[in-house]
Symmetry: C2
Amino acid sequence: MNKIKQVLTKQRQNKDYKDLYIIKIGGNVIDNSENLYRFLKDFAALPDFKILVHGGGKVATQLSETLGVKAKLVDGRRITDIETLRVVTMVYSGLINKNIVAQLQRFGNNAIGLTGADGDFIRAKKRPVKTVDYGFVGDLDKNSIKPKNLISLMEAGFTPVFCALTHDGEGQLLNTNADTIASALAVALANYYHTTLVYCFEKKGVLKDINDEDSLIREIDPKHYEELKKQQVIHSGMLPKLDNAFSAIASGVKKVIIGHSDDLGNIKQHQPFGTHLIDN
Amino acid sequence: MNKIKQVLTKQRQNKDYKDLYIIKIGGNVIDNSENLYRFLKDFAALPDFKILVHGGGKVATQLSETLGVKAKLVDGRRITDIETLRVVTMVYSGLINKNIVAQLQRFGNNAIGLTGADGDFIRAKKRPVKTVDYGFVGDLDKNSIKPKNLISLMEAGFTPVFCALTHDGEGQLLNTNADTIASALAVALANYYHTTLVYCFEKKGVLKDINDEDSLIREIDPKHYEELKKQQVIHSGMLPKLDNAFSAIASGVKKVIIGHSDDLGNIKQHQPFGTHLIDN
């Protein structure tokens, strides 16, 4: 651990930070085996250092249905009861995570599949019950990620692949939003690497007109973001993603990109893609 | 990696090997939450270095039944078809493995849950089809485990927790016997650590009379083993376990213990327990 500290201190003194890419994928990549294959091949080819964070996709919902575990919603918000936690643990950290890892190994990337419990990498707090009991849902705070363990894993040559599960340090696994995990990882590691956070989704980026892929907005700063919200160009599902992104930038993350998983290869070619979120 | 090589070379020159315990647990521990709690508390308290290997237990069978995935047997041997592989991946590497990891973290042990695909730690070859097609079953050979990656993980402060899944390096996960994984890990690491392999099961060890826990055989060497087999004191399920054990010893593993999971605490107290398998 001391050796790592020395290396990092030296890097910082020399302003010799290494690049780190944190890539988040969701259902549109995971649920389509061709998209997933293409994405994992591109991800494996990215230079070190890199971290993959994946959400759940449709498989968990399908398994829940088959097992007769009913989706519970209160005020339109999804509740993670003990049965649902069981299903997501099996699907996220088992089926999806380990198949991703096996594929990355095939492409020559030394991946290692993780929840936040593994290596104590990500701790969360069970969401307090106010009007709604969300069940086994974990919220992150600024102390959730202790970067040292994670850095020592990466410096030992492994590529972390995180699913959307954390733990409370008391033996309890917790369901945690994958976008938030990606953003928290980027913030925690921003002091040690030139960190770029990439949210992959089904569009080329943030679009002026959601039906026109040519209407890509190449760059958004916080002021521009406020305007786009007022004009309702950005709304609903994109809001938490962009809020996460700007909060990451405010905490030292160098760059946040929102773009299509098919364009990930552009990173290696040093070609811009997607929407870049930048500081003022 | 070079740093690790230096450390190990130095250790070997000084005959200053560190101890390594590889503990294998099966259904009798996993299926009983009280047994599991007790075991994990004792395991967490063991000094470094240590590795846990766990089998599947009844949960996979139960999930298969609920999902209508029928157990397929040919000549009394279990077949891992694609549906069964899906179930064991969810249960072994998801549900069981990650709950064990979360518990170990609670007890202060920095566990990290793994399949053989993670970190490329254990490669296997899909069992060739002769008279029977066993499906997605992986067999290990002497090249299956490359110790360097695993050592660097342990030296970085993590405790590996392996479930009974490996991969073929081509993207395919494979179902692999947990006893064999434990034995192969012990053999691969025997050159680098004073390695003790412990098989936990439901008895105090190998018994002269299976109904009498006081008839524990404290020590067996290969010659004695041949006699016990002839006398049919050892038969059926114990044979592959002991064959694995003696093959590990023949390959440099210092000690193999077969005993009850409740007696694991004896290691810390330097008290003998179970049956010790030793070289001639």
